[in-house]
């Protein structure tokens, strides 16, 4: 008999590993993605594929430069997922180089400059989104109406839209819900008229509105997020605290000044709030690890989103809110520690007879 391997306990392992986690997140994202791709047609599909391919390419290049094992790390799914999230947050008919730039920023600056998988301080996809938003305000805010089952541009036309930058097809551009509310409010329109123009909340809930490629359908994103929770990939804490704090703050503001603030249900279903709550804020690497820490982090993000949406220069504040709270994560982790078994929160052994 060959002497067996001597390795210390435990000798068994759960079935989960990094790539399975990434694949599960992608699976949960796919309903909302499929909906977005269907409703924004061929140009969206082209952009989606180009962005993910670019993310993978940048990942391979970065790994090669860093001298890390390419096959093992490039196939772990993290680069594809980052590219996927970047793509979903782009305007669906944006030209190809926006997607490639976004993927490059996310993978190279957001991730590998910090040391690769697990080392980045900021959420790579949000770094890309924020930089694109600041650097390319026109391309990043050119929205199109969903096709709603119309034929839309053909495959060849859409190649022209994505790659040539000269739309042969008439782009039916429109504002997203949040930018519409913002500009109308700035123009001094009363809130009830703005709301009447926007139409019902249902369209936003189902996703029949203009917006980023994969962020329009709040309902499908919610379903995917619930699957993530059921698969135990994320806990309920971050989504609940993000959504809860936005709801409470916007509700309070709306009750105080209904003429100035849209009602909370508009906040809940518009923009990338649901996407952020379940898929972006819950990014493992850049969020705190303990329950208390996650709660602080989630409430921080929700509050910042509401503040930026209401008083900031941008109609949507998800990227900035997430990045700001990412920066706080090490601090939160340092202070929000779990209580050690048999000790008080301050680390002293429990007193005998202490019924806790």
């Amino acid at each position: 008999m060959i002497a067996p391997m001597l390795a210390s306990a435990p000798h068994t392992h759960s079935r989960f590993n990094v790539s399975r986690t990434m694949i599960a997140v992608m699976a949960c994202l796919s309903p909302a993605t499929a909906f977005g791709l269907y409703h924004f047609g061929w140009p969206a599909i082209c952009l989606f594929i180009v962005t993910i391919a670019a993310a993978l390419l940048f990942e391979v290049l970065s790994l090669a430069i860093a001298g890390k094992p390419i096959l093992r790390f490039a196939t772990d799914g993290s680069a594809v997922l980052t590219g996927w999230i970047v793509a979903l947050s782009l305007p669906p008919w944006a030209p190809w180089w926006v997607g490639v730039t976004g993927a490059g920023i996310a993978i190279v600056i957001g991730k590998h400059v910090f040391g690769g998988l697990g080392q980045n301080l900021f959420n790579p996809a949000m770094v890309a989104r924020a930089m694109l938003l600041v650097a390319l305000p026109v391309q990043m805010t050119t929205w199109v109406q969903p096709l709603r089952g119309d034929t839309g541009p053909t495959f060849l036309q859409s190649l022209g839209i994505t790659f040539m930058g000269s739309p042969e097809f008439d782009v039916v551009s429109s504002a997203s819900v949040l930018s519409q509310v913002k500009s109308q409010l700035d123009a001094g329109q009363p809130m009830d008229r703005i709301l009447a123009e926007l139409g019902g909340v249902q369209d936003q809930l189902y996703g029949f509105v203009s917006g980023s490629m994969g962020e329009t359908s709040a309902l499908l994103l919610l379903a995917g997020g619930l699957c993530l929770i059921l698969l135990r990939i994320i806990t309920v804490v971050i989504p609940l605290s993000v959504l809860g704090s936005v709801f409470v703050l916007s509700g309070a503001a709306w009750l105080i000044a209904p003429g100035q603030f849209p009602p909370p249900q508009y906040h809940m279903v518009s923009g990338s709030l649901v996407f952020c709550a379940f898929f972006i804020a819950t990014d493992y690497v850049t969020s705190p690890v303990t329950g208390t820490g996650k709660m602080i982090y989630g409430i921080g993000i929700g509050t910042l989103i509401f503040v930026i949406r209401s008083w900031g220069a941008f109609p949507e504040g998800v990227a900035f809110a997430v990045l700001l709270m990412n920066a706080c994560t090490p601090l939160i982790d340092e202070y929000a520690r779990p209580r050690i078994f048999g000790r008080t929160r301050s680390g002293k052994p429990l007193e005998l007879g202490d019924e806790s």
Partner: protein, 512 residues
Amino acid sequence: MTIFPLAGRFDPARLFSFKGGIHPETRKFLTSECAIEDMPVPTVLRVPLQQHIGVEAEPLVARDDMVLKGQLIGKARGPVSANIHAPTSGRVLAVGHFTAPHPSGLPVPTITIRPDGDDRWGDRLPRMRPESADPDEIAAQVAKAGIVGMGGATFPAAVKLNLRARYDLHTLIINGAECEPYLTCDDRLMRERAEEIADGIGIMARALGVKQVIVAIEANKPQATAAMERYHRVLGYALKIKQVPTQYPMGSEKHLVKTLTGKETPARALTAELGVVVHNAATAHAVHLAVRYGEPSISRVVTISGRGITRPANVRALIGTPVAELLAHCGGLAQEPERLLLGGPMMGQPIQNPRVPIIKGTNGILALAASETRDREVMPCIRCGLCVQVCPMGLTPFELNTRIKAGDLEGAARVGLLDCITCGCCSFTCPSNKPLVQTIHFAKGKLAEQESRKHQQEQAKRLAEARQERQEAIAAAKREAMAKRKAEMAAKKKREAEAAAAETPKNGETVK
């Protein structure tokens, strides 16, 4: 139907156990229906003198001595130690050293016996009637029988039975959780020997002088629960049989106490300080045999399992039986095992040499095939926080790991390194397959080494200082003596001079 029966069924222990923990695949089905079988006397027995926590026993036999079954061959030394008895009759081949059943593979003092095949009993311990025996007598009998905690901790049972002298004990908990995957030896023992275990529990309860007794069994062992429930009254004690959730590490003493009583044992304290003592179910069985029949602890039930075993089984084997013979008894190895373990897959010890013997704390021998063990590929930490979620001690294993890797052992100790019970939940669950608990193990050893070195240095420094002080004192005394002598000499000279001065005029006069 009123609401009261329902309210009575509500058991908070089943809802609120403890924070963290994992649910590994138990794979107990491999052996859970295998009745305990007796292993024939093997060709050779190697009985280590160190089978317990504490000082090794002192050998009482020499080479070529004939020993009888149950004869005392190793005498306990010191307050935390245990007697060792001959598991069968035969000739002592050697009193020397043999590889320990431990991953280190270091030699430990071992008595090797060649059984003569007669299995002849020598003098047994005197039988006792626990109904009328004094608690001290029971504890003394358990000590004589050399019984140690059979769940794997191998703490001498008699020492725990004597805790009543120091603590106000009110509850005895019998640990039948058996939360390690694969292992079914306690399950089978409870199913087949429920009456004897119950009797042993009663005896221990009497020795401890407790008021209530709880038998905790994980919910995945309904037959064992049913079997134990038939003996709910022994020696005047009502046994409360409680199902606890199937959750690893339920068998950890402090977590079991927390689940059953809701009380959390303070860090660095014993459960006895809460008035609770925990004993293993197999220990109760050994106590029954020792007290009722005067049989010392010379055999135990071992689960032999894993995909590498041809015929997984539960075997009652003599202490000292080589692992290789037990494997052969179970049809040998079906395939080359990736890992050969003593104990369960979560906390078991890997061994390299199958000739090592089983000891009183060995509850399982597992031959795990590659498909049952972990991958070797390690990915970077992605800070998913699963290790924090599952840690039953409320630690942050990924952070400990980072600090240890950076060489910051003091920092790791500050955030709870020494509170780790090395249950392995973190390593089990880590999606990046990082060796978290293994690193913590290493750091604990390293820290202990540093502490002892520091202690040694301090000792040496103290000795050096004491020496210097002594030398200074000697020198000072010498100086003082010198000064004194000088002063004396000076005084003497002065006196002489004075005397001379006084005499001179006289002389002068006489001269005149």
